[in-house]
Symmetry: C2
Subunit: 137 residues, 2 copies
Amino acid sequence: MFKLHKALEEKIHVTELPTSIIKFEHQYKACPWLLVIPKIENKGNFTDLTLEEQQKLMVEVALASEVMEELFRPDRLNIAMIGNKTPQLHVHVICRYENDPNWPDTIWNKSVEPMSKREAETMVTQIKALFAEKYYG
Amino acid sequence: MFKLHKALEEKIHVTELPTSIIKFEHQYKACPWLLVIPKIENKGNFTDLTLEEQQKLMVEVALASEVMEELFRPDRLNIAMIGNKTPQLHVHVICRYENDPNWPDTIWNKSVEPMSKREAETMVTQIKALFAEKYYG
C-alpha cells in the first residue's frame, strides 16, 4: 500500500490530486516551493513509472507549476527530481527570482533561510484556493 | 526558427530525436550526464510548452534516462529543469552514485572535477549506440 516517506509526510499538506499528493516546503523564505509526490508504491526514479503514470504525474506537475506561477510570479520555475536523501519519488517545483539570495545558483548551492510558520500558512491557504479553482472549477 | 543557445550548442552532440536534441555534459567526472533540449522556439519554462509538447519531451527524457541507467547503472537518476543561467529550456539527466564526491547533495552544491575529453568521447560513443538501438532498433 502507498505510504508517504516520513520526510515527506512531515511537510505541510496542500492538496491531493488523482495521481499525486501536493505538499509545501517552507525551507526557503524567498522562494515558494511545492513537492508533487505520486501516490504509487515503491517508486524511486521517474523511469520506475509506466508511461501512463509518467504522463499523469507530469500533468499534475504542470498544474502545480501554473498555480505557483499565477500566485507568485517567479522569474523562473525550477522543476527537479533528485531524491538522493529521500528515496521516494517526488518532484520539486520551486519559484525562483533574480533577486533571491541563491540566484542564479540552485537552491541547493548553499543554505537558505526558512519561512516562518505563519508566512508558510498564508501561502498554503492561497495555493489551496487556486488548486481548488483550477482543478475543480 | 529554433536555435540552440550558445551555452548548449557548445556541449558534445549525442543525437537528435523527434522532439529534442540530446547533448552530453562532461562537467562532472564521476557522473555521466545528458541534456535533453526540446527543439521548440522561445521556451524557458516547462509550462511554456503545450500539453502535447510536454508529453513528447518527457517521453524523450524517459528514453534518455533508460539509456543512462542501462549503460552506467546509477544508484539514482537526478532529472532537473533549472535554467537560471541558460534560459533555453533543457532537462538535466544525471547519473548519481552513493560514492560520488557530492553524494547525497546535488551536483550543484559544490564544484566538481570535469571529465577528460577522451573519457567523455568514449561515453558518448556508447550512448549514441544505445540510443540508435533503442530508438531505431
